[in-house]
Amino acid sequence: MSVFFSSLDIAVQAGVVIILAGMGELLLERTGVMNLGIEGMISIGAVAAVLMATVSSEPVVCLLVAVGAGMAVGAVFALFAVVLRVNQVLAGLAIFLLCIGLTNELGADYSNVPVKATFDDLALPGLSSIPEIGPALFDQPILVYVAYVVLPCVVWLVLFRSRHGLNVRAVGENPAAADAAGISVMRIRTAYCLVAGGLAAAAGAYLMLSLTPSFSLNPAGGRGWVALAAVIFAAWLPWRLVAAGLLFGGLTSLGLTAQAQGWNIPTVIFAVLPYVVTIALMFLIALRLRLQRLELREVAPAALATPYYREER
């Protein structure tokens, strides 16, 4: 493969983490809940997958266990942020600290030990034999296809083409009106806390079972924060989030390519590039909205990060 296509190959894989975790966050934010625990949930998924891989060589089993662990964390988050209605920023950061501490404690013994259960590449018949592009795009682990095609299709259909999706968006825009219409705000928000936890953990599991198959401390490595930002500059739209994920993957892969090719640019530039570009893109989307005489908060779900009290309706 040429340099470009082998970089694309890595970019596609690196983007998966942002897409999986970000899609859960996107759905949850559409219901009006902001989850700052996402970085921790990715970590829990990673450590759960690593621990499971010590007893099972089946990557799917490890993935499912990780998703279960992530949903459990999502349930704790839901208990505090949705049911007990504590401040979502505090609950999210608390979940982040709890998860990152647990992850590093539980995973310490497995640091830099190769993970045994890894996903094999799944070559799509026909497409994968296209020269250059085929191996880069159509000979990938199954989660890559899930993240780039299946998940965004499902999320888009559910959010914008189903009654349930209408309910979800109503809860995020105007929970009082949704409540009056007979939609259970608490039930929908709780359900999507579990979905967000599960998807974030799936992203962490993918990291360990495919992208970089050995545990390291702080396995999420800031990708959770990038996913949060990606949801913003994707303007809460699933397909734009896919593009955001691919872009992040591209920036990550650029650093690796630069190293491999021996480009004479300080590595720090590539290390900070994903974060700087992420901030720059949030700025650009806000600027673009400004030109349309809109504010970012008018695009965001109106009830984002606001607990819902029926008695204050």
């Binding site: 920023v89 800031g222 913003i232 900070v272 806000a286």
Partner: protein
């Protein structure tokens, strides 16, 4: 409806005492829960706790270490507290601290001069470095409504990479240490064998903050804007400019804290300069609520917990365990603000028509 007992009624204003009580109970419950988990995982909690107390308060050395850890945590908490006053979430203390450290290390490493003058220059550089790093999320929030939580968190990651690059590559010592710059030739004066003047700075900053926020027009206006930005705007205050200024002041406190690390405890610029102390400071500010005195007390307690984690490493407790416990404390204590909005009232036999 004649069930006996009590029911919850929502208050219109928050009861601060109730919030504080619930937070204390929540934090204790978190410690209890953590203790049970440690016990079940085969680590005798009571022995660990008494060992931890001994490490923290058993001798002067332990007290010094705790205070050295507490100083940057309290400074970070004060910086967060200042932002709370105007309803900003500054989670970027670590980044601002790092950039303050970078700026002051740049001055300390590359400029020669008399010690006192150089220390003053490093203080200014540190505060400026932190303030400028906080300017970015401040402007993005004030003028473009971009959530400052996310930008400050991302800027933490950027600052950490810059510190790593400078200390390992650009300004690397090359000889003694592979992970840090050569020693900074200027040091803040010592109070005792182990403590430098830096441990007093949080008290100084706390006093200044209390005066500015409680006794000055600027502080009064800031409080008004925090309580009701529209009212502030209507009274002729520039809300946007105030958001940027408060963010920069907060960053300056964090930057000063970074300077105190490179010219004090660490004597070098290395990636240990922030080491999540800003995040811990955030927990302290969230727990302490609106009281500066509580920030200092809670800050020392949180530092004791951290020091326990560091000291007990050989007994099977690590700082990772402490971080998890911090999360648990924050989670359970966050119920405080909710609880303050309710009161328990006796159920009446029959409810009057509503």
């Amino acid at each position: 409806m004649s069930r006996p007992g009590f029911r919850l009624q929502r208050r219109t204003t928050a009861a601060r005492h109730q919030a504080a009580a619930v937070k204390v109970v929540g934090a204790l419950a978190a410690l209890l829960l953590a203790g049970i988990v440690l016990q079940l995982s085969g680590r005798p909690t009571l022995d660990l706790a008494s060992a931890a107390l001994d490490y923290n308060l058993g001798d002067w050395f332990g007290i010094e270490e705790t205070l050295l850890l507490a100083a940057p945590i309290v400074l970070g908490a004060l910086a967060v507290y200042l932002c709370f006053r105007i309803r900003l979430w500054n989670i970027g203390i670590d980044g601002q601290m790092s950039m303050g450290a970078v700026a002051s290390a740049a001055v300390g490493l590359h400029v020669d001069g008399p010690e006192a003058l150089m220390l003053a220059a490093m203080v200014v550089a540190g505060a400026l470095g932190g303030a400028l790093w906080a300017l970015i999320p401040g402007v993005l929030r004030a003028y473009f409504q971009i959530n400052e939580i996310i930008t400050t968190l991302l800027l933490n990651l950027v600052a950490l990479q810059i510190v790593v690059y400078l200390s390992v590559t650009a300004w690397a010592d090359g000889g003694v240490s592979l992970r840090s710059t050569s020693p900074i030739p200027y040091e803040v004066p010592m109070l005792s064998a182990g403590l430098d003047v830096g441990v007093l700075v949080p008290l100084l900053v706390a006093g200044v903050l209390a005066l500015v926020l409680g006794r000055s027009r600027w502080g009064y206006e800031t409080t008004i804007i925090g309580a009701n930005a529209r009212a502030g705007e209507a009274a002729g205050m520039s809300v946007r400019r105030r958001i940027v200024l408060v963010m920069m002041a907060s960053g300056a406190i964090a930057g000063l804290s970074g300077m105190l690390q490179v010219a004090g405890r660490l004597h070098v610029l290395s990636e240990d300069v922030a080491a999540n102390t800003g995040l811990y400071g955030f927990i302290v500010a969230a727990l302490a609520g609106a009281s500066i005195v509580a920030i200092i007390v809670v800050g020392v307690l949180i530092a004791m917990l951290l020091h326990s984690g560091i000291s007990l490493a050989t007994d099977g407790v690590s700082t990772d365990v402490v971080v998890a416990v911090y999360g648990l404390i924050l989670l359970l204590a966050s119920l405080g603000e909710v609880a303050a909005r309710y009161r328990l009232i006796p159920r009446r036999r029959s409810r009057p028509a509503e």
